[in-house]
């Protein structure tokens, strides 16, 4: 998909630039955007490493395990028919906690582990199981307590209060997640009815 977006954007830019007479700007941009990308990357690098380091300490201090215990009662209502003492459910809880703390590096391997365990425990064959859908929807609706990247870019562009967005982020992600889960659950029920 990205292959097409990338090519179409570049080709359209050249065509559009020619049509609107913006070619000198397009040319400048072709030469400069890569420099800006490295600039942005270097700017974000510090924050990424800082959070990565901090979260590693949180992990080793067992804070992530504690948090994951807190989410179990909530998560067990979402995952129906899953063995609550099984490895799949454990991996699910750990992945959700890692996501919540913004531990992108740790979350993906845990998420893959959870998908593999879910497949082993539920044996869905070719068609995804309901719990797999719930798990992926939980992961695609970001639930992060600290929007670190957004905050550091706000600082970069001179925001007076980089973290003022926090309440909005929390409410928005909670509602987005709820909408995703409700729609997944509703579509699952209607899918089943059609089958019968």
């Amino acid at each position: 998909m990205l292959k097409w977006i990338f090519a179409v954007m570049l080709i359209t830019s050249v065509g559009f630039g020619a049509a609107t007479g913006n070619m000198d700007k397009v040319c400048n941009s072709a030469l400069n955007s890569c420099v800006e990308a490295v600039d942005l990357f270097l700017y974000l690098l510090g924050g990424m490493c800082m959070w990565g380091g901090l979260m590693r300490v949180a992990e080793k201090a067992k804070l992530t395990d504690r948090l994951s215990e807190l989410f179990r009662p909530f998560l067990k209502h979402i995952f129906k028919g899953l063995d609550l003492n099984g490895k799949a459910f454990h991996a699910v809880c750990m992945n959700i906690t890692a996501n919540l703390l913004g531990l992108g590096n740790a979350a993906t391997p845990l998420g893959l582990e959870a998908m593999r365990r879910l497949e082993q425990e539920e044996r869905p064959g070719d068609t995804t199981s309901r719990n797999m859908i719930m798990f992926v929807v939980l992961n695609t609706a970001s639930i992060t307590i600290i929007p670190a990247t957004a905050a550091s870019l706000r600082v970069r562009h001179g925001s007076a209060a980089p973290m003022e967005i926090l309440p909005c982020v929390l409410i928005t992600s909670a509602c987005a997640l709820a909408a995703g889960l409700i729609s997944a659950s509703a579509l699952d029920a209607s899918g089943r009815r059609k089958k019968k």
């Binding site: 929007p147 905050a151 928005t172 987005a176 909408a179």
Partner: protein, 170 residues
């Protein structure tokens, strides 16, 4: 009040670390090192997509497309500047980062559009990428309604980004 969140968070982690007799400095450094290599993995994609978005914007094509979609989003109170971000967000994380950076270069981060873009980045995920990677390691071929439900979450997130900023920050 919001400026207490991060410092308090850091203090809690440090206290918990010392309490559990963790080598807080050594672990911090090793975690930071892992993030360093993970960050380098996204650099090539960031260069590719920032070039594409930069040229697209410079040619006037981005403005043209946003202008076409604007009437649809206007009645939701969704700022025109954030339309490109909503389009790229579900597809590419680096692309979304590039668009976010470009929005903040055009408008102040404390303006309405700047705040909405920040909330969008903080509260949504790269849907298609996540679905592809997660189902990629299983044998599942038919993912049923997973894309529909994830996009429902994304769209809800976009609409609410504008709504919560309007209600809470003004």
């Amino acid at each position: 009040m919001s400026s207490y969140v991060i410092p308090a968070f850091i203090a809690i982690i440090m206290i918990a670390g010392l309490f559990k007799k963790t080598d807080v400095f050594g672990e911090f450094v090793s975690g930071a090192k892992d993030s360093l290599s993970a960050a380098f993995d996204i650099l090539p994609a960031l260069i590719a997509l920032m070039t594409a978005i930069g040229m697209f914007k410079a040619s006037g094509a981005l403005e043209f497309i946003s202008g076409m979609i604007a009437p649809l989003t206007e009645f939701l109170g969704f700022p025109e500047e954030c339309i490109p971000l909503a389009l790229i967000r579900p597809i590419s994380g680096s692309g979304a980062l590039a668009v976010f950076e470009s929005i903040l270069s055009d408008v102040s981060p404390d303006s309405f559009a700047g705040r909405v873009a920040s909330v969008m980045i903080g509260s949504t995920e790269t849907t298609f990428y996540t679905v592809a990677v997660y189902y990629g390691i299983t044998k599942v071929k038919n993912t049923r309604h997973v894309i529909a439900s994830s996009l429902t979450a994304d769209i809800t997130g976009f609409v609410l980004s504008a709504l919560t900023v309007r209600l809470l920050l003004y």
